[in-house]
């Protein structure tokens, strides 16, 4: 497939490549504002649940896999670092470094998803999946079920975002290998980076809300 030249022409509605690049970045930020509200609806539901059933949520929080959750946080924070480094490499036209760093970022993303999948598996075997096989003897069973309902939704939708992010990063890596980017034109890498960092930030908030609840309790 023919690739765009390293110094391509802007689309007709733009005067310069710089204008097109700035506009793409701004567009991504507006989209991220949308995403904040998308997760915001679920976070309001979570806040309601936690305020209504403090003991139940604390008990449910102690059920969660703290080791997997913490390792996954480490993985995602690191992937954000390699992504930022990749953008830096693109800016300085270090093509091989760019390709490698994008590949590492994508692999870290896959590792995150793998661990998450394993975590889901253990929750399935322990009958913690609401609506499908939930079974819990605790006095707070109803609250725990609602907690896990939100847990699967929040982490599931976050996981979809991670998957989309990995896809975008792989596309960027392939294009970078073909030499599509230069220090003048690396907007797609930058915009992909913004998306990936946002997905990381979402996880930064999900981590304490899911895994650290009730840890100081009995």
């Amino acid at each position: 497939m023919p690739e765009a030249p390293a110094n391509p022409m802007p689309e007709p509605q733009y005067a310069t490549m710089e204008q097109q690049a700035d506009t793409a970045a701004f567009g991504m930020w507006v989209f991220l504002a949308t995403e904040i509200l998308f997760f915001g609806g679920m976070l309001l539901a979570y806040t309601w649940l936690r305020a209504s059933y403090p003991e139940g949520v604390a008990e449910a929080g102690r059920h969660t896999r703290i080791v997997i959750g913490s390792v996954n946080t480490l993985v995602l924070l690191t992937s954000s670092f390699t992504m930022a480094w990749a953008v830096h490499a693109a800016e300085h036209e270090q093509r091989r470094a760019l390709v490698r760093l994008l590949a590492v970022t994508a692999l870290l993303g896959l590792l995150f998803l793998g661990l998450k999948g394993y975590e889901y598996h253990t929750e399935w075997t322990e009958h913690l999946v609401p609506g499908l096989n939930f079974h819990e003897e605790s006095a707070h069973a109803q609250a725990i079920e609602l907690f896990y309902f939100l847990y699967f939704l929040l982490t599931g939708i976050h996981g979809i975002h991670v998957t989309i992010g990995i896809g975008l990063i792989v596309v960027m890596a392939v294009r970078a290998r073909r030499g599509a980017f230069s220090s003048r034109y690396y907007t797609p890498v930058e915009v992909t980076g913004l998306y990936w960092h946002f997905v990381d930030i979402v996880w930064i908030f999900l981590y304490p809300l899911i895994y650290l609840v009730g840890r100081s309790g009995p």
Binding site: Q19, F26, F38, Y53, E145, L153
Partner: protein, 547 residues
């Protein structure tokens, strides 16, 4: 680019052969894969028209049912009819109506750009819209969804028997269509204005669509996630919104109205924009208080988010919250009133001509004012208890949505028809349709204020016989309204073939869109225009507004 000319009939303006309708080819493929904002606007206009008449057909059947106290249809059919009417009219007509048709067509033209910032997203938005629309029709017609457009839980999540999940999926998808459009408009308005097109030189239409887009981008995601929660809840029988399972149905209502009240402003702000273009043109005067009109749009977009729980006064929210939301609801009347006063002041001592767009605009001002003032009634806690879920509320929001927005949609359609198609429509037919719509609308909905005040509940298929007189009036009005809405199909269609050639600027209007040929070339302008003056300079000797 060179403009070739053809010889029209004697006395007619010459017309550019190079225009967006033919330049990229006339094959179906060239239309379905187009990235031109004007062609996408046409695609939207055609599909929106289909949904408008589908939703209208449901409304006709509803009014037919209510002619007799016992009703004609079974309760089940009636519930499906008002659900069909609500879902289609809200999400597949009103929300995309002006932004996705005229906004798509005009925003780049008005700001002197060649296209929107993200043309591919624009096309994707249309495909999402059409896919979602077909899915919604399938879900409602085949699966008999009977939840009403509000999808209140736990009825929608636990008890309703229709294809609710499919309907939820359709609204979820059309939500993303509207997010993509809003994103495109915001970015375009910020980044693609022509040289000299400062913010205070933008036409109010662009400002209004900008304010609308802010709401689309920040409110719609909350609706999307809320409906997704309802769908999962329905599939898995786990209930964050179901009191029987430990959930809170008011949480659903908070989240739903966090979107759906601002969505009311998505449905009216673009109408304000259209009226602000038409009134100065047919009064031949600059818009009075331009900056006030502009900032009242932005204020409405923000304060519109502060009032949502006035839909829940009797649902069980705390009295304190009721007070807060009631007071905030009064506040939002201020920017709306500012607009009405400014349009009226623009008319004052103007050289008014009563062409069809102006008839729609004047109708809009009157009907919107009635809708807005009755909005103050229902923002009042005590009065709202009396009229909640009655026809008073139905009449109130139809005065805004139909009397306001649909009038503005038709006004704008007539005003920009020559620009969009290059043809003039038959003026007298258009005036007759405008008057029929105004008369039919009032006859349909004014009796509903009385019915609601007397205590007739909405969403019931039958009613006590003493309400029949007002219901017959309302249904009679609906039949006139139906004729009024159907007429433009014929004379506008006729004008496509037989209408006179329009020329670039048939109304002698200001604004960049009138400076390029009709219909415009694919990239809008032969040469990127430079703007040196504020908008609406209809009497240049009048004092300039641009300080």
């Amino acid at each position: 680019m060179t403009i070739a000319t053809v010889t029209g009939k004697p006395g007619e303006p010459v017309v550019a052969t190079k225009n967006y309708l033919t330049e990229e080819g006339v094959t179906l493929r060239s239309w379905l894969l187009t990235k031109d904002h004007k062609r996408i606007a046409i695609l939207y206009t055609l599909s929106i028209t289909v949904f408008f008449f589908v939703g209208g057909a449901a409304a006709t059947l509803i009014r037919l049912n209510l002619v007799t106290p016992a009703g004609i249809f079974t309760p089940d059919i009636y519930n499906r009819l008002f659900t069909l009417h609500g879902i289609i009219m809200v999400w597949f007509f009103l929300i995309p109506s002006i932004p996705n048709t005229m906004g798509n067509f005009l925003i780049p033209l008005m700001i002197g750009a060649k296209d929107l910032a993200f043309p591919r997203l624009n096309l994707l938005s249309w495909y999402l819209y059409v896919g979602a629309g077909l899915l919604a029709l399938f879900a409602i017609l085949v699966g008999g969804v009977d939840t009403g457009w509000t999808f209140y839980t736990p009825f929608s999540s636990m008890y309703s028997n229709g294809y609710v999940v499919l309907a939820l999926a359709a609204v979820f998808a059309v939500g993303f269509s509207s997010i993509l459009t809003g994103l495109n408009f915001i970015v375009t308005t910020h980044r693609l204005r022509a040289p000299g097109m400062t913010w205070y030189r933008l036409p109010v239409f662009v400002w209004s669509n900008y304010a609308t887009s802010v709401i689309m981008v920040l409110a719609t995601p909350v609706l999307a996630i809320t409906l997704a929660l309802v769908a999962v809840e329905r599939l898995l029988r786990v209930g964050i919104f179901d009191p029987a399972l430990g959930g809170d149905p008011l949480l659903f209502q908070h989240l739903f109205w966090f979107y759906s009240h601002p969505a009311v402003y998505i449905m009216i702000l673009p109408g304000f924009g259209v009226i602000s273009e038409i009134v100065p043109c047919f009064a031949r005067k600059p818009l009075f208080g331009y900056k006030f009109v502009v900032w009242s749009s932005i204020t409405i977009a923000v304060i519109g988010f502060f009032v949502w729980a006035h839909h829940m006064f009797v649902a069980g929210i705390s009295l304190y919250a009721g007070l807060v939301f009631s007071l905030l609801s009064y506040v939002i009347a201020v920017p709306s009133a500012i607009k009405v006063f400014n349009w009226t002041a623009t008319l004052h001592k103007g050289w008014i001509s009563f062409d069809a767009p102006m008839l729609y605009a004047l109708g809009f001002i009157g009907l919107f004012t009635i809708g807005g003032l009755t909005g103050l009634f229902v923002a009042n806690l005590a009065f709202d208890v009396h009229v909640t879920d009655t026809y008073f509320v139905v009449a109130h929001f139809h005065y805004i949505m139909v009397g306001g927005m649909v009038s503005a949609y038709f006004g704008g359609l007539h005003y920009w028809w020559p620009k969009i198609t290059g043809r003039l429509y038959p003026e007298w037919w258009a005036r007759i349709a405008a008057l029929l719509i105004f008369f039919g609308f009032n006859l349909t909905f004014f009796p509903q204020f009385i019915l609601g005040y007397l205590g007739m509940e909405r969403r019931y298929y039958a009613y006590p016989p003493e309400f029949q007189f007002w219901n017959i009036l309302s249904s009679a009005g609906a039949s006139i309204l139906a004729v009024g809405y159907a007429l433009p199909l014929f004379y506008l269609g006729w004008s496509l073939v037989r209408g006179k050639r329009a020329g670039a600027n048939p109304w002698a209007a200001t604004g960049l869109e009138w400076q390029t040929s009709s219909p415009p070339p694919t990239h809008n302008f032969d040469k990127t225009p430079t703007v040196t003056r504020p908008p609406y300079q209809y009497r240049p000797e009048a004092e300039p507004q641009d300080a």
